[in-house]
């Protein structure tokens, strides 16, 4: 059985019902997932929006026509025009530039939260699930306590106690976001712990740390990725709500929620000023929801 490498046969090689090797089966599986995923137009649209907004945020200094902090009091609350694509705010600052730079704040907060919360939740969940006993009961009790608070309200109280600002907002969101991850990781670990292949790994003399790190955590990652993607929009909304309530990023930072808070008094006359950052939040959060939905359908069809 020799394989030639023209495009059609690559596809056939990937889609064959009788793979000749483990690698072929694995790549075939990945190709099928990718094909299912790309067939979902809404998810692809979400992915496109996320990539575009991330690029816009990264390249903000190049793309922005003005400095987001420069005021022009003679040109306050201007309508969108050729000079100011999205108009100006109450201090005459260019809204388009502020939206671009605001994307950095928002996406930066999201990345920071995810980078902290996913490993934390995974670690707590895996330890509780794998070791069981007192560790499990104690950790899950703590998880329950944190789940018992509505997310935004606990975050608000926490930020208020420290000091309003971006860093405290990030920690506050982490503090309120980890319990579902721990629950998820624990459930996955519990279902894996009793399986025969873990018993087999144990028989070969692998220690607990190796089993958890090499065999359990990799298998939890699929559902974790889905959960993170679906959680993104919730993190974005919490961050924006904190900003709106004056407990997150502080003016003059161009964080979208804070921009809406300062511009909300213009809603009746210059309605576009608070609406534009609102649209930005909506777009990015919708994009993450669409992507997460698509990923879930492909990676985790059980929990539709």
């Amino acid at each position: 059985m020799s394989t030639t490498t023209s495009p059609q046969t690559w596809r056939d090689w990937l889609l064959t019902d009788t793979p000749a090797s483990r690698a072929q089966a694995a790549w075939g599986g990945r190709y099928r997932l990718w094909r299912d995923f790309t067939a979902n137009k809404l998810a692809m649209a979400g992915l496109a929006v996320i990539v575009a907004m991330a690029l816009a945020a990264l390249l903000a200094p190049l793309l922005a026509p003005y400095d987001p902090g420069v005021q022009d009091l003679t040109n306050r609350l201007a309508r969108p025009s050729a000079a100011h694509w999205l108009g100006t705010d109450e201090l005459g600052r260019d809204l388009y530039a502020r939206i671009l730079f605001g994307g950095r704040v928002t996406l930066g907060m999201v990345v920071a939260v995810v980078a902290l919360v996913a490993p934390l939740g995974l670690a707590i969940g895996c330890i509780a699930g794998y070791y069981g006993g007192i560790a499990d009961r104690l950790l899950m009790r703590v998880t329950d306590v944190f789940l018992a608070f509505p997310r935004l309200i606990l975050a608000l109280a926490f930020v208020a106690a420290i000091k309003p600002g971006i860093t405290s907002a990030i920690f506050a969101i982490v503090l309120t976001a980890w319990p579902p991850y721990a629950r998820l990781a624990r459930a996955e670990t519990l279902s894996l712990r009793g399986t025969d292949f873990i018993a087999a790994v144990r028989l070969t003399g692998a220690g607990s740390a190796r089993i958890v790190l090499r065999h359990i955590i990799p298998l939890c990652l699929g559902s974790l990725v889905v959960r993170v993607t679906l959680d993104m929009s919730s993190i974005i909304l919490t961050a924006a709500s904190l900003g709106f309530l004056g407990m997150g990023a502080q003016p003059p930072s161009p964080e979208w929620g804070a921009m809406i808070a300062t511009a909300r008094r213009f809603i009746l006359d210059q309605w576009w000023v608070p609406t534009i950052p609102g649209v930005a939040i909506f777009l990015i959060s919708l994009a993450f929801n669409l992507l997460g939905d698509g990923l879930r359908d492909v990676l985790d069809p059980k929990q539709r």
């Binding site: 703590v142 018992a148 509505p150 608000l156 106690a161 929009s233």
Partner: protein
Amino acid sequence: MKRLKALAATTASVPITLFGLVLVTFLIGRVMPIDPVLAIVGDRAPADVVAAARLELGLDRPLYVQFWIYLGKLAVGDLGRSVMTSHTVWEDIKRFFPATMELATVAIIFAAGIGIPLGVLAAVKQGSRVDHVIRVVCLAGHSLPIFVLALLSLLVFYATLHWAPGPGRQDILFDDQVPSITNFLTVDALLARDWEVLRDAVAHLIQPAAVLAYFAMAFIARMTRAFMLDALAGEYVITARAKGLSAARVIWKHAFGNIAVRLITIMALTYAGLLEGAVVTETVFSWPGLGQYLTISLLNADMNAVLGATLVVGITYLAFNLLADMLYKLLDPRVS
């Protein structure tokens, strides 16, 4: 009997969670860098006054003693005094919480009334255009910041169309016209048989409740759709169709009948979640509820008020979670 045991098992964990809730709130109160003494006596108070206040507040004692004192005060409903309103926090909560409950109750009624039929429709027509539209409407509900929708709603329905009255709970004209018995304005107006106040209260209630309801509706519709898809794939649905039942009866009696209990628990959870949405909605609509009280206290660093409100919301949230669990165990015949 088994049912009772299941219920007992659910309630057993509550005191521990409750204790954790109080502990977390207490600890948040103690990590703050703002000196609570200065907030009370002022920055310029002489050193001996500050020291006396510190002693009176028990702040010189070890943390666990302070926690014990805090617990003791909680047990008699003493949450301290709000610097901002100069009432006790407990009095404030009694005044503001009913307004939030009123808002959330109307919102959940809207949300369930629209969300459940939409979810069922989407599941029955899975993959059709209707399903996609409903799915996007729901996703939008999960993606839109609630304060943006609230602001836009004010712009459209209040400022442009003049359909809705402005922010607030009632017109200034009617302030204090009916006696506060329950602090639910609509109920108080009903009790006083003051129809004008009732009409005004309802008019003020509809807009913020509808905004809040959209988010709850999105969640309820999405869950209903997922549960219904699950139920419709059941063998018993084939049995019901093989019996020659009408499509409506197969869907509503057999498939929906199987998810009704799960939906009730979802509603209880959503209701609890509405408390969170209320914080932001109330701020935009100047609705004098617990959410607005919380945000104003936050901005004024009025920690007693913040912690009191947080604790009350946490306990309510916990109570609804418990209620959801209990309803499930009581109503579902499969639990035994």
